[in-house]
Symmetry: C2
Subunit: 532 residues, 2 copies
């Protein structure tokens, strides 16, 4: 198997060819009316890392590595900032050692060693963080990156309860591969699905697709097992409980500061048989948004209910660029979905949407590929391919990123206007202009989760500074207008300044005290979420 | 308005007449084949409380009381044990002062005074705790019961998001009364609905009815505001967030140990128009349970999906006592429910259930009372009347209680067998026999929430000791067989020994540290959930 790319999304075999990158540079050159040249991609030969400041102990040498490629691969996540730095082999503070435990006992041993040696531990799942969640603090004297990737098995299946006990380090595809023979699926699809892990999803409260009603991974966690320096934190397997504050909900979103999640019992679903989908067009983003509100408040719980603004509908779903798109998808293992989508389409049409009757596609599972045709199918393919796009453009000097949030419906129109104004102003100021678009990745009865994408032309060498200005403008606007600094990308180091504003004051003290109770030496992901 | 009964459920005007109690005694006498005599109910004249050990400060005198009736009313919740003690005017440790703040500022002032004077604060919502959640510890030198009942208003309505900002002290009926003119409803119906408050529901993670899919109050909380000794803990209004561990989820279930909840933004629903219901009979509890599993795993999300064992179906729904009953209820403000219940009934029939076609009742809202007829209607009326039953039998010497839990489907059959055996053995040993029955109050895709009811004949004067033995046998069996010590009744003082077993070890330390961070003097509900 190919190694992971130390700078791009996916494997080294996923890295684009020089020709592909040259073509991408040509497209970008046309778009921006300048001549952009694609530099060669970095290789191991370009890596010149600081020597490891600590060596693996003999007892753990078999599961630890100080290999430069591994250290570079584990230095960053996959944010815009990470990709730019890694592309330029800018690794001033890589982990000194990378560990690949194969058992929970080895996780415990690695934490003990870290505690004894005062080594900072950065827990690493699939490394897809876009918020600086796996990057060590500059101030750490020595750093261990704890890669859970070899804890990748489904350990136990409970068919009656549709649940499974699963190791935390399993990547999305490997998880689904192990569930498929049992007719089961977790059906949790973050965009990072290929390169993120169950433990990472739990630690960062990831948001899945096919996920209206139950959106975040939170709702699929039946129980969780976490190694802390103070011992094993394991909850009972329960379908529901009202006993005190939920211990699982304190683990969910803890981003590695309380412990290392090693396994979880997860709620699963039978694999869908019946499906229905439709792409409903609207004259404006506002009218499509209103339709999504009415559909979700009718509690029909479509598996998928997304809205693309005209720009995104044009780029991703092949529409004219003048129309917004509401994507509806229903699915079930047990119940034909025709009546459900009929109601949703009725509501959407009453709200001004258009879809031809023969474009409302209903399947009983006997035909292949339903839901993969038309505008909906275009969008889905584009969604899965998304993260590889940056491999093509890295190093061209383009500054672009996404940010996501959530806001209640009453404030949504003013919120959107204010955020767009702030980001457009910043794009003008920083890049002399650029593009901005929005979609709803998730909708709730009380509000949408908007996901913005922006891009402008940067100056090579100044991209990170320019990105920082844009990110700050966007985040300030999200905060000032009542949103959350993240709906499903997590906090990490990058979102800390705004999370500090968002977090209720006494909760800060409670969380800090809780961390100190289970990690008294403060070795786990220091500076992520909170200061010690 | 009538005052609250200091010993019974509801108001003094809800207390039964001597004749009603005599009739209940006659029924019980026949049932147990002994002569049971109904003693007279206590009155204020029977109260002989310890003098208050502290007096209200002048600045707060207007909202504080040392009246004996108020102190007795606030000494206990409404558990079996509470009712027996209150009926016998057994109040060795009543609160010294009861406060009725009318503003959040008065809550803050009361907490400041308590902090300065070393007064223990027991937060009181509707006083319906059945787990010792509002009872002061014996060791406290002085005790304030903080009754939130005057913070009872809906402050703000957001029609677009179907949400409202609501004061924590509002009782269920008053809340729905204020929402009704706006066409909205919280639709959260714990059995204590009449005498429990929004803040109490949040603090104890109450479970509602009409609540498959979204069961606990947790899912309806959009944001919460809580006064702590360390300041105001308030989360942002958000439809969803992935920013760190959920601050709301740490408040949910905190049972007054972290702060005093003063208000919350709650997710609401439009009032249902379309309804459908059916009561499907089965030859056994096991076959009805299996049908419930299949219905809930099909994700049709009926508002109501309950199972009554043959004993409960006979007592509460007028069936023969030989059949189990699956109760299905669907409702929606927007979408006709016929197709949904048709699928659920199909699944239930395939699993061996019987229901006549004309007993599957579907309404478009034009007819009155749909869902209130037949077996389903019988059950619903009995459900709402339930808590008043104990007013009739208090003092007769009957020992009876309910306990509730949750368990995954794979373990359910063995769990039920083990719990029944343990409780029947204990009933035999303690009472020489008795009755035991079970229903599912809630079902999840991965398991049911079973709710057991037991009763036996006690010896007057020894009821509490006998109850204690039965409660211990039941709780030990629930714990030993993998359940939770509570699905929706909370922990309080009564469930502490088993919660101590259930709670993950390091989580205990994290929770203790979190409490100390926001309540350094330890004045809030000490001994509830955890020791200081």
């Amino acid at each position: 198997m190919s190694r992971r790319s130390f700078w791009g999304w996916g494997l080294e075999s996923d890295e684009p060819t020089a020709e592909q990158r040259a073509q991408a540079a040509e497209r970008a050159s046309k778009r921006y009316g300048v001549e952009l040249v694609s530099p060669p991609v970095p290789t191991d030969a370009s890596l010149d890392l600081r020597a490891p400041r600590i060596q693996p102990p003999a007892a753990l040498a078999a599961i630890m590595s100080t290999d430069a490629h591994e250290r570079a691969s584990h230095a960053y996540g996959k944010s815009y900032r990470d990709t730019i730095r890694a592309f330029h082999c800018d690794f001033p503070n890589p982990p000194d050692v990378v560990a690949f435990p194969t058992t929970e006992a080895e996780v415990v041993a690695a934490l003990e060693w870290a505690g004894e040696t005062g080594t900072t531990v950065m827990t690493y799942g699939g490394g897809s963080s876009v918020v600086g969640g796996v990057e060590a603090p500059d101030a750490a004297d020595r750093v261990l990156s704890l890669d859970l990737g070899r804890l990748d098995r489904v350990l136990e299946i409970d068919q009656a309860s549709r649940a499974a006990r699963i190791q935390a380090g399993v990547l999305g595809p490997a998880l689904e591969d192990q569930l498929r023979p049992h007719g089961l699926t977790l059906r949790h699809y973050p965009q990072s699905f290929e390169w993120s892990t169950l433990g990472g999803w739990i630690a960062t409260r990831s948001g899945g697709h096919y996920a209206t009603n139950h959106t975040h991974i939170d709702d699929f966690v039946e129980s969780v097992r976490m190694v802390t320096p103070a011992g094993i934190w394991e909850s009972r397997r329960l379908p529901g409980s009202g006993a005190g504050p939920s211990p699982d909900r304190m683990v969910l979103g803890s981003e590695g500061i309380l412990g290392v999640i090693t396994e979880a019992w997860m709620r699963l679903q039978a694999r869908p048989v019946y499906r229905a989908s439709a792409g409903v067009t609207f004259p404006t983003f506002a009218s499509a948004s209103e339709a999504a509100r009415l559909v979700v408040q009718a509690k029909l719980w479509p598996a998928n209910c997304r809205v693309l603004d005209p720009v995104e509908a044009g780029n991703a779903a092949g529409l004219s660029g003048e129309q917004a798109l509401l994507i509806l998808g229903f699915e079930s293992a047990d119940v034909p979905q025709g009546p459900f989508i009929a109601e949703a389409v009725r509501i959407a049409r009453e709200a001004g949407g258009q879809v031809a009757d023969d474009q409302v596609i209903v399947s009983d599972g006997s035909k292949e590929g339903v839901g993969r045709q038309g505008a909906v199918g275009e969008w889905r393919n584009s969604f899965v391919r998304g993260p590889y796009g940056r491999n093509l453009t890295a190093g061209l000097g383009i500054v672009g990123d996404t940010f996501e949030t959530a806001i209640t419906w009453d404030r949504w129109p003013a919120f959107d206007a204010a955020v767009r104004e702030a980001v457009r102003d910043a794009l003008q100021r920083v890049c002399g202009g650029g593009t901005l678009s929005c979609r709803f990745t998730h909708v709730y009865t009380d509000g949408p989760a908007p996901y913005y994408t922006f891009q402008g032309l940067g100056r090579p060498g100044a991209e990170l500074e320019m990105w920082g200005e844009l990110k700050k403008a966007a985040s300030d606007a999200v905060m000032a207008n009542g949103g959350t600094i993240t709906h499903h990308h997590a906090v990490g180091r990058d979102h800390r300044p705004w999370y500090d504003i968002q977090r209720p004051g006494p909760f800060t003290e409670a969380l800090r005290a809780a961390k100190k109770a289970v990690d008294p030496a403060g070795i786990l992901n220091p500076g992520v979420l909170i200061d010690p």
